[in-house]
Symmetry: C3
Subunit: 433 residues, 3 copies
């Protein structure tokens, strides 16, 4: 197994806070309030951001604020703490400033470092630039008598050269002259990446960069790291944020940046299986969720209609109308329906497969049934899916994520138990072990 060297195997949320805001009575106000987030509002990784979120002139004060707030609140913070320092592949001045801030913040006498899990390094370049940053971490550890490799390093991928560097991590991390095993998160930074790639869109919105996200996820997979997507700027647009996360999850990128506690709640929840299952209808490529009414799954939109005729059915999808007998209709509906399993469903299937395996069977069929109502017409359908070891292993991902969350985030137990019920939670904690 590609070794994972950190406490968390999954990170859902990467929440940044400005370290020093000018013109406030207390320049550390935002840090202080973020440090006191709990439960679903608290991120898996909190990032006091001494880079882009903080004005250049305020960054020395920002480093001091990090020390002050983390030494006071760090012990009680439920997530990990990874401040972002300044860094730039093209500027030795910036790199040296980042090094000095790390040296300062990591001083054990200041009381913050014992609560800090690592630092985030933005604007890295090729792999040799990553090694420069790693060397500063090593020197900081050595100067302060901390264990070598104990401070995690996360990087922001925001240049073409850094994207390419992710292809070499697996072989570079074993080399004797670096401590790159400290690497933890690979975080995409699409705004600066767009600038580095010199991309242009008519409205100025960010390009979707699907290949970058794939390569980040793959780099994480190959090196035992965790992939995190960049910020989603349009804070009002909750639906868009969820669509982005669903896309990311299909790429193996399970974490995302959050800019507000509201986004943290959405992003902490998104990769967890739903509480209740639901049926989807795929009409011309659009997924429509059916309403569940007394155990019947109901569609009453107008893109699809179904009517019983004397000897069969008339099914209309968009502009196409077809006459079908009952078997043909069932076949057709099976083609355009799919089921989104609940946590309970997933745990059930996994338990069932585990029992079958114990009994010496390598593959079993899992059945999912429903009664659909379209217009006024009802019909029952039933879908089979073959489960073998590989299906089982792939279905394990959301459960492993849940287990990682439940073990590491006691502050979310109440909300998770409320969401799923205690019995589902306790069964989910047992499967696959």
């Amino acid at each position: 197994m590609t070794e994972r060297r950190h406490d968390r195997e999954f990170v859902r949320t990467f929440f940044t806070s400005p370290t020093a805001v000018e013109g406030e009575d207390d320049s550390a106000k935002m840090l202080r309030s973020a440090a006191q987030l709990r439960g679903m509002q608290a991120p898996d990784v909190w990032v006091p951001d001494n880079e882009d979120a903080t004005a250049p002139s305020m960054r020395d004060e920002g480093a001091e604020n990090i020390i002050e707030v983390v030494s006071e609140h760090g012990a009680d913070f439920p997530g990990e703490i990874h401040p972002r320092i300044v860094w730039h592949r093209d500027s030795p001045t910036t790199r040296y400033q980042g090094f000095q801030h790390m040296l300062e913040i990591a001083d054990p006498e200041r009381g913050a470092i014992e609560h800090i899990d690592g630092f985030v390094v933005p604007e890295v370049g090729d792999i040799d630039d990553w090694k420069k940053a790693d060397e500063f971490f090593t020197i900081v550890e050595n100067e302060h008598g901390l264990e070598a490799g104990s401070i995690a390093m996360s990087v922001i991928i925001e240049s073409g050269q850094a994207e390419l560097a992710m292809g070499t991590l697996r072989e570079e991390m074993g080399k004797p002259t670096n401590n790159l095993e400290r690497l933890f998160l690979l975080v995409d930074g699409e705004v600066d990446y767009t600038k580095d790639m010199r991309a242009i869109t008519p409205t100025g919105e960010l390009p979707p960069w699907p290949e970058l996200r794939h390569n980040t996820s793959r780099g994480a997979s190959a090196a035992g790291l965790i992939a995190v997507d960049g910020p989603y700027d349009d804070i009002r647009d909750v639906e868009g944020y969820h669509e982005r996360m669903t896309e990311n999850q299909a790429k193996g990128m399970l974490g995302i940046w959050s800019l507000t506690p509201g986004q943290v709640v959405e992003a902490n929840t998104s990769p967890l299986p739903p509480k209740t299952g639901s049926w989807l209808l795929d009409i011309d490529g659009q997924q429509i969720e059916l309403e569940s009414e007394d155990g019947v799954e109901v569609y009453d939109g107008d893109r699809l209609s179904l009517e019983a005729t004397g000897d069969g059915y008339e099914l209309r999808i968009g502009g196409d109308t077809r006459e079908l007998d009952e078997d043909e209709l069932r076949e057709e509906l099976l083609d355009i329906t799919s089921y989104v399993p609940s946590m309970d469903d997933i745990v059930d299937s996994m338990e069932e497969f585990e029992a079958a395996k114990e009994a010496g069977r390598g593959a079993i069929a899992m059945e999912q049934s429903a009664t659909l109502r379209i217009g006024g017409t009802e019909l029952s359908i039933s879908k089979d899916r073959m489960w073998d070891e590989a299906t089982y292993q792939a279905a394990m991902t959301p459960i492993s994520l849940f287990q990682d969350v439940y073990e590491n985030r006691p502050d979310q137990h109440e909300e998770l138990n409320e969401r799923y019920g205690a019995s589902v939670v306790s069964r989910a904690m047992e499967v696959g072990l």
Copy 2:
């Protein structure tokens, strides 16, 4: 030219069979029936699958079954035979078991190896892991007095690290301490890949992984290998299987896994040019095939309508209606129509270009004409396409595939002659040589 070192330059089908099924009188029953497939039902590469398709407890028996069935039926099997052994980048136990099974199966005294073309190695990791497998092949060859490099090695790409390894094959294959020149197929395994990448989809269906398929195809191109896509689970869904193959072909991935003889037929046929040409209408991004009636190409759906008015035409596409004169209408229809050439058409065009080249011309225009009937209105259109050397070379791919199939699969001659007619077949075997 990147050298191709194997008999087959194209592989359309990769068909797996369980090697030993528990609870049957004859545990080798499925092997035995697969070994007797012929014609379009027989795959280009048949894979007695001693890994995921066979229960772990049955794999020793599976290795014996492979020996028995292949030594009996192998001489007559029309495709190549590449058993899949067990392997895992993270488990030396599994790797050693795979090595032992290979040693056993490859023993010339058992009579199977003379009919076996290679082995398939699943779950490979980074390039050094591929080299471990290659070394076992070398030892097996040496122990049994077989020629070094004579046993082909195919791998299943089902991890991020293996995806990255494909980027280095070209330089690794030349190195003196390995025999990686034995590599043959690069086969994607999306179920385990999804697990390795830790991807999640709401319904549990596999993500599409377009970048993986591109990278596999590119890796094959750079190293003279053949790219094959993974299994398509929904056996009922023939249309979906074809859509997947069309997508793959546009990526240069011309082969695909088949789970049933029915899928083998579809996949053997899919990359071959059609018997008859057809016209497509592109309406809002959807391709609709026109019906050919007595030499007229007819559309009678309701997304598009065309009516002659006093002095021109009224064309409605979806909700948009426009008044056009005849030239404008022809221009518009040219924009939204395209032609899918038949084997005969392709051979014609190539012969025509070859003759033009002989006569010293570097580029010629190929014309394609049709009479369209939309609603009741008819109009003739004619499309020109410039052919130069590059067009000719690119058009050669389906023909080269056909030639490779025709040379290597005499058992399919009857079906191919029936499909295209003997005269088209014999002309297709001559062009481009």
Copy 3:
């Protein structure tokens, strides 16, 4: 900063001309007319094409024609001149021929080389093949007493192995035994790439190859080079050419091949910001530009309708009708509208942000307002967008491109001033410096 070593930092257009056409009184006729293009019809990079555009038998004459036409017209040509020579990774004969043509063309006594900026090398293979070409450039420079590295080298990416090579350029370009710092353009060649990848499409049209274009753009970003897309064959299809360019620009690929002076005009214009801003409506994934009438943005299609009811509004999008109060309606319209800023708007925003930064503020909100009229109903909306340093830097790309064009192409000043007005042009030349 990844160093850029050439005069041009942006190249919009790569225009090829046959070097010798058989059967004409003057075989150099097309070269001669291309050499006299000026203004928006003249490309940033002009490529006398002694490879695919010219018949093999005419290429020696083609080399002579290049010398003759460039020595006569080169001094006055407003763009750069980069002839394409023959080359093939698989043919030493072809490579030697390309070398001989370069030696000939670069002879200072022939008077052409002083106007030639570099050569274009097609059909390159892996990085060692690029080094062979580079070595011939070095020998040519040395033989003719030209400065080492003074002749730029551009390559056509038309094989999987060349695509992979782009991942190593950054590290290879620094090595002491080559002069790869001479690299200038990375140009995709999709026709031959399709052949190399052995891809098939039903109609024979080219696959879209999004990953190739991403990797070319990334390779350019990492090595300080410029990415250019391949030819768009359907010369009639101006709309399709623009769609392709918009897609490319979102990938950071700002240049494209042009086959005619008409395509040059389109491609020179496409990456420049528009003269006037415009509002877009996003209806089911389709972007529709609103008509501006006396300061009101008007939609009068039938996919969307809006009516005031007694106490609110009825909004219909496609088949879905909803009752909304004014706030809900505004929210909804904000979700589906976006603004395409003009050059003037971009310069305004940048100046505003620069002033804010001077005053010590790190982020400001930019507002964009409009009155929409849908059906007969009017409503005013206003969008805010936060600008910080990163937004500012990313918005800089089209401005930098404009500045590069304006500095290097005095022959386009008149057309650019006409397009934007002299005052916008002069402000655009000042921002961001």
